[in-house]
Amino acid sequence: MTKPKVAFYWNASCGGCEEAVIDLAEDILKVVEAVDIVFWPVAMDFKKKDIKAMKDGEIAVSFINGAIRTEEQEEMVKLLRRKSGLVIAFGSCSHLGGIPGLANFWDRDTIFERVYKEIPSVINPDGVLPQTKTQIGDKQLTLPEFWDTVKTLDQVIDVDYYIPGCAPPPDIIMDGITAILEGKLPEKGAVLAPDKSLCDTCPRSEKKPDKISMKEIKRPHEIILDPEKCFLEQGIICLGPATRSGCGERCINANMPCRGCFGPTKEVIDHGAKGLSAIVSILGIEEEEKLSDEDVQKLIDQIKDPAGLFYMYSLPSSLLRRKIMRKGE
């Protein structure tokens, strides 16, 4: 029997998803035994033209990480889509846009202005900016164009399944790969992780009171964090109620609140809106009747940078997508 062909590819990412695959350690050998890796720029010398030469659908499955923000990336993932039976969005950036997706609060011009002109260490009296084409005498150099907007993988091509996390933990990766190899897959479009909220599996949930009320909002650096108490009970915003479980509660184990890298559970359309509603529904709930409009406003004002906090990993995938830039802004 011929082994199924597998491709790995990356876009705008940090390399953490590749490290996550390397961290599979001995398990990676099991994967290598079971499949035929036909494209993995990180490790193997196969070229784009080799992929082009393949029949459509010849690759059984392509794992693609990183958000999409250049034409080259778009071209490559479209090619892989055509040649692949299954496409898996791998990691937060590909799945939701990830931290680099916060760039959707700005655009190319505002980013360039900051990076190449305003930064205090930059000396650039002529206002030089990187160009897609540079002519130096008879020499021409090129750079890929930088888009205004960061996109998730499924905004560019059709995606079959998602492996979540920043970075995806080893057991989630192996479970996902095993499900694919054994053909035991859920319905198309599913995230290959438990469909439970993080609160359901949180080690602090046992001691959690039935009804949580946040009297006020605290920021993590403002108090000594109790290592056993629910963060919400301590007044710390934690995205656990809005976020899918399966991460191994890694941040919680380090005594830090969840920031949502696994994205929402199945029924949630907008991760940030869900997180925000989870928080405001318990904020000041205890003495709700006694609060004036002014008191409520004061409580709400304690939430700093709500857009950046609740959409930390998911801005490009949200209903908001990006900030609309107006001239002169």
């Binding site: 193997m44 990076v115 190449y116 930064i119 030089v128 990187p130 650096h221 941040c251 380090a254």
Partner: protein, 486 residues
Amino acid sequence: MVKKITIDPITRLEGHGKIEIFLNEKGNVDKAFFQVPELRGFEKFSEGRMAEEMPRITPKICGVCPTAHHMASGKALDDLYKVDPPPAAKKIRELINSSFMAEDHTLHFFFLGGPDFIVGPQAPAKERNILGVIQKVGLDAGKKVINIRKRLRDIITKQGGKVIHPVCNLPGGISKGVTKEDREEYIQTGKDAVEFAKFSLKAFEDIVLKNNEYVDVIVGDIYKHKTYYMGLVDKDNKVNFYDGDIRVVDPEGKEFAKFKPSEYLNHIEEHVEQWSYVKFPYLKDVGWKGFVDGRDSGVYRVAPLARLNVADGMATPLAQAEYEKLFDTLGGKPAHNTLAYHWARLVELLYATERLLELAQDEEILEPNVRNIPTAVPEEGIGVVEAPRGTLYHHYKTDENGIITGVNLIVATVNNSAAMCMSIEKAARGLIKGGKVSDGLLNMVEMAFRAYDPCLACATHSLPGNMPLEIKICNLDGKLIKTLRR
């Protein structure tokens, strides 16, 4: 006829690093460009965020060295809120950072850069990888490498939550202390890591230093640049990865500047070229003179060899002995040999493990108080650490609510960006004459490039330690004349 040679590491088709070499009419190298065709804009999109989230946001700059960003960011927050972490918190941070430096240097030496030497610069490409290394040093040794990396990374996971993007740093300390049980494990890991580092240096000595052919390559002119060097030093001018002053030495090895992290803008400026998304830092007091070395050019280098060049020695005994041996062999300080970065990395590996063990054995890390709550009104903070690939600067400005209003980041590898261009160009000049491209070019150029362990390129992401390269040689019309591939 003018020719253009493109080296496009296929490990980044959209590219993290791309090399273009142009030949003149005589067929000799006219100019080489090392391009970084990528930008994500952290310096802009961090604006508006809560400062205390920065240690969780900035590690995403690099999934290979997230711990270094996490540390620089944590220190920038201490400075922002003018709050000093309790001694235990500082020691635990340094312990995490030492584990990270040790596992990362191990990754580079055995998986990435080391195969050039352990297996040999002229060995067939298919053997120049971790498997080739295992063949040469033995299967047990290979297992040792994988085992020690896993245990060092476990320390980061235990304390930082995630080894890929830790989360424990806050202004004034860390979110979690060390338990007695974990400490016992860290001590054992530290002891085994020191033995592992000694074994690594012994392997380097047996395989590389006892082979005159290799030594000739290391000291040869093709891989030499007389530049300034920069790195962090402690109060005794010894190498330190976590804290201290920044010291710069000139190409003769004399102290040129020594400054506090908060003074970095008085000493470093960045130059912009329109053909790369990466900026080119240089010494402000010398100035930008282009991609040239020597005393009159502000180009400086960072990372292992630079750190050894700027320091008066190592703070731990075993590493100090290896430091002395390195400079005795290379003919004194400073050493300008780019390939000696590999050796310096191993000396640092030994220091990182000795320091890890010292910190793990220190009773104070068991102190439960690991946070001081900040009380000052935030305004501006600067944090500097040594990442495996060089000095790393995080600089934040905020409003009175601790909301970020301005960010400047000078990332470790970026400090070396001008020097990498120059090293590639020099290697190419030595190998391309009269339009004839030596088949050894791929190896040799790659070695020039890889010695820096550039984080933004594929070298660090390459699993079998064999960076696939393609060099295209085109004529003026862009017609492909020859393709070299490995």
